[in-house]
């Protein structure tokens, strides 16, 4: 294998197993020609290895692999192994392993004998990449159906070969045997190894792709529900995995951006002489307000980007208020859009008749992705084509975005997906992809670009800041009879994924979407039966909407953590006002109405809430608990969320240091129901980490800025959860499905994002339980907590 071909080992391995007939098929069918080597070395074509690295790239055009061809999904090799090709990417949750479990089950092949290749646009069908916790819920279905169809076709072939009707055959791990006559047998490898299926699938789109075969009932699944270890982990701990950051191409050069020093600044001039004599300097590339320096070596590019003298003009008016004035700004701003409120019953009348009225306002600042690795991509412009090596979770979208941005036909662009840092939505990986491609096209050589830490922390997309007003009315029995939720999100011009007119380089070059996205806020996603309820959302805009570091984009359940922080904190405030136990108060809201179509969802919610308090050992009492003596005050808080069809209920136990204001989240328990669980180990780990991500957002994370620029630029100015903060105990209870044993099994639902939602409120509720002080402004950094404790004389 060419030493420059830096692709993941498991991909190399699978490609090595790929056999001639499939290659011929792929070529002759005109579907796509696979070239998987940065310099045009095609490992799939005989003699390719003998070529030198000087061989020009021979690949392209790159039409989309046809999802209606079984051969696009599954290859069976002569040695009774199989390779699965799926149009998904893995952001660290181990989805590839789960896909293999499901597909191996449908195909009747041992899990260990399968390989999974993910998300590279020219060899896997377009399933959109990753997002929305949909891997198991939506995208695994066409994979399962394709695998079931492969089994059906193979059994039919076996039937012809053995001269025995298909219904008299049985399959176990690639071996088809005649029932009652086990000596009569044939293997998958013998039947099709080295040959193509030539089976057409049907379906209007990739999500509904199917063959004739039906998937197995859940009771017949063997690997599904087990916890085989993730296949990607060994190479991640021994240093052998080739990540997207590790791509090295012959002739490759390194680029670094020079970002505007002020939001909305206009580039007046560049003094190239300030860097021209520097070692390895190649060129300054600039268009509009986008500036990058290209050098032979990485450290040279870093040095030159720091040294380059540029002149910028500040915008006439401030791009945004300072972060300490943000919520005043939000409350006074004129909304850019307002949704029609969701109204149940008659809230106004109910509020008028309520015995007790509770009001509260919650504030959630901008929070960023701040990936552990700053954004990066490498692009190769050989032969008028464009290959982008990226960890972007939506490789297919990046392909379309890059093609449009560069004005190239899509068939000339491909994106090779490789592993990278956590992908929790619309990260700056999108921006880096277009930057690398543009730079490579301009300079005619492969270019690797990577953002520096300050760029990543300041300029990556942000989860919108929220200001939420809530009102509730209790009757004489302490029952919640009226409820009002009103959220304002700073989300105007929310950037989408890989949009050629919103990626940062496009904005800086003056390419802008004609109609900015209007953005959104979200409403609570609980299943409470509240008789009179109004929920409304509004979006507001900052003064500067283009070329701003405060640009919003999806971050892990985009608005859920913010709105759930408010709504589930408020439920606790209501419970406290009613002098009710917070768990029992929630339970009453779920049991009080069983008449509508939400009854089943409420029953599942109740089962999850019961599971979490049981695992925690919850004792019934209202919050706050009687104030203890000593420096450390401890308390417990609960919160719950329903997302899509998945439910999470979480309990946080905290210790609050009344001298320092420091909050330690000491213990976490989550009960989680996402229907059918494919890999319990992966699920538990995903849920653990999703909860801790929200712990970090609750305690530490806030993007801060003055009226010119973002001032959160590194891990000191933008702290995150650390080892020292880690809870001493985390428990995940998998509730797994339907509390009613008479109903059929549930399918798999999305897992990760639901677990992010309740934690912010669970912590606020625990702090209240411990101290009697209600914190409504995130994050709960020491100084803010201490000030609140002092103000309440705690």
């Amino acid at each position: 294998m060419n030493p420059y071909t830096k692709i993941p080992e498991h991909v190399e391995e699978a490609l090595g197993k790929w056999n001639t007939p499939r290659r011929s098929f792929l070529k002759s069918a005109g579907l796509f020609v696979v070239t998987f080597g940065a310099v045009g070395i095609d490992p799939l074509i005989e003699g390719a290895e003998a070529q030198t690295s000087a061989t020009p790239q021979a690949a392209g055009p790159y039409p989309d692999p046809d999802f209606r061809q079984l051969d696009s999904w599954i290859v069976v090799h002569q040695d009774n192994t199989a390779t699965f090709y799926v149009g998904k990417t893995d952001c660290g949750q181990g989805t590839g392993t789960s896909f293999r479990q499901l597909m191996a089950d449908e195909m009747d092949i041992a899990f260990e004998k399968t390989t999974c290749i993910m998300g590279s646009t020219d060899i896997t069908v377009d399933q959109g990449g990753s997002g929305g916790s949909t891997a198991m819920e939506r995208d695994a279905w066409p994979m399962r159906r394709a695998a079931a169809e492969a089994r059906r076709v193979l059994v039919e072939m076996g039937s012809a070969q053995l001269g025995v009707p298909a219904d008299q055959l049985t399959v176990s791990d690639c071996v088809i045997t005649v029932k009652g006559d086990p000596l009569k047998r044939v293997t998958y490898g013998q039947l099709i190894g080295g040959k193509r299926f030539n089976v057409t699938l049907t379906g209007a789109n990739v999500n509904v792709t199917t063959g004739i075969a039906k998937v197995k009932p859940v009771q017949e699944l063997k690997f599904t529900g087990q916890s085989p270890q993730r296949y990607d982990i060994p190479a991640k701990v021994d240093g052998s995995l080739k990540w997207a950051v590790d791509v090295r191409l012959p002739g490759m050069v390194h680029a670094r951006n020079v970002k505007p020093p002020f939001a909305g600044a206009k580039l007046i001039g560049i003094d190239e002489s300030s860097v021209r004599g520097m070692p390895g300097f190649i060129k300054v590339l600039s268009k509009g307000n986008y500036v990058a320096v290209v050098c032979e070596r990485e450290e040279q590019a870093i040095n030159a980007s720091r040294r380059l003298k540029t002149n910028w003009e500040k915008p006439a008016k401030a791009p945004f208020p300072a972060s300490e004035d943000l919520f005043t700004y939000i409350r006074n701003a004129e909304p850019t859009s307002t949704t029609t409120p969701i109204v149940v019953g008659n809230p106004d009348t109910a509020f008028a008749g309520a015995l007790k009225l509770i009001e509260a306002a919650y504030e959630i600042p901008f929070q960023g992705h701040t990936a552990i690795s700053p954004a990066h991509a490498t692009a190769d412009p050989s032969n008028g084509l464009m290959t982008v090596y990226s960890n972007d979770m939506k490789s297919y979208g990046m392909r379309r975005g890059v093609a449009t941005f560069l004005g190239m036909p899509k068939e000339k662009v491909r994106v090779v997906w490789m592993e990278g840092p956590q992908g929790f939505g619309r990260t700056a990986a999108d921006d880096a992809g277009c930057e690398a491609a543009w730079l490579a096209k301009e300079i005619g050589r492969p270019v690797r670009v990577q953002w520096m830490r300050h760029e990543e922390t300041a300029w990556d997309t942000k989860a919108p800041a929220f200001a939420v007003n809530m009102r509730g009315g209790l009757d004489s029995a302490g029952k919640l009879v009226a409820y009002d939720f009103n959220a304002r999100a700073v989300d105007y011009n929310h950037v989408g994924y890989n949009e050629p007119d919103t990626v940062l380089i496009a904005q800086l070059m003056g390419v802008r979407k004609a109609n900015p996205d209007k953005g959104s806020a979200s409403t609570p996603s609980d299943m409470y039966a509240i008789p009179n309820r109004r929920m409304a959302t509004e979006v507001v805009s900052l003064p500067l909407i283009w070329e701003t570091p405060l640009r919003t984009g999806n971050l892990r359940d985009p608005n859920g953590p913010q709105s759930t922080f408010a709504s589930e904190s408020f439920i606790d405030e209501l419970a406290a006002a009613a002098k009710a136990d917070p768990y029992e108060f929630r339970l009453n809201l779920l049991t009080s109405d069983n008449s509508d179509d939400a009854a089943f969802r409420r029953a599942r919610s109740i089962a999850v809430l019961k599971a979490v308090v049981k695992a925690y050992g919850w004792d019934s009492r209202p919050s706050p608990k009687p104030r203890a003596g000593g420096n450390i005050l401890s308390g417990r808080g609960i919160a719950y969320a329903f997302r899509g069809s998945t439910i999470a209920a979480e309990v946080a136990e905290v210790e609050v240091n009344r001298q320092t204001g420091h909050v330690w989240v000491k213990r976490l328990v989550c009960a989680h129901d996402c229907g059918l669980v494919v890999n319990p180990q992966s699920l538990r780990h995903t849920v653990e980490c999703a909860m801790l991500h929200s712990v970090s957002r609750a305690i530490h994370e806030e993007v801060q800025f003055d009226t010119e620029k973002v001032t959160s630029v590194d891990w000191n100015s933008h702290p995150t959860l650390t080892h020292a903060d880690t809870p001493e105990s985390i428990e995940v209870v998998i509730v797994n499905g339907d509390p009613n044993p008479n109903r059929p099994d549930l399918p798999p639902y999305g897992a990760g994002e639901t677990a992010c939602k309740p934690m912010l409120a669970a912590i606020a509720n625990a702090i209240y339980d411990a101290t009697g002080v209600r914190l409504r402004r995130l994050p709960f950094r020491d100084a803010r907590v201490l000030a609140a404790l002092r103000a309440s004389r705690v």
């Binding site: 949750q93 240093g239 052998s240 990540w243 990485e298 552990i372 990278g420 520096m452 780990h685 995150t720």
Partner: protein, 165 residues
Amino acid sequence: MSNTTLKVNGSTHTLEVDPSTPLLYILRNDLGLQGPRFGCGLGQCGACTVIVNGQAIRSCITPVASVKSEITTLEGIATQGKLHPLQQAWIDEQVPQCGFCQNGQIMTAKALLDKNPNPTDAQIREGMNKTLCRCMTYYRIQAAIKRGAKAIADARPATEKEVVA
């Protein structure tokens, strides 16, 4: 530019480089190593960690010319084709989510255990505190360190164990 000799994972390399170049870029771009990775360039996150003289150091802020002793990277801690007990513990505990930071986590943990084979929970938290993970795998990392420490202790000859005890 000047000649710099580096000993890395048992091999010696002589390179002509700017002596002020951070070690990280030499390891990655000249020696083709993939364990140490760029995370911040500021010595704040630990993704670039390598071990020199038993110390876990941040290669992103270490000038290459300042390193006189042998450098061990993630690729160099397995012995005779067998994973280091910490690497095995990382697999057994299924520690990574994305895995990008795990180089720094494993190398920092190794330096910690080399100095203190049986750390308390508090010592693990303290010793690992500046090594960041944005997937938040801390809980499992701490479990894996304890598992690795036990495996290392169990593999030690009995006489040596008594001495340690």
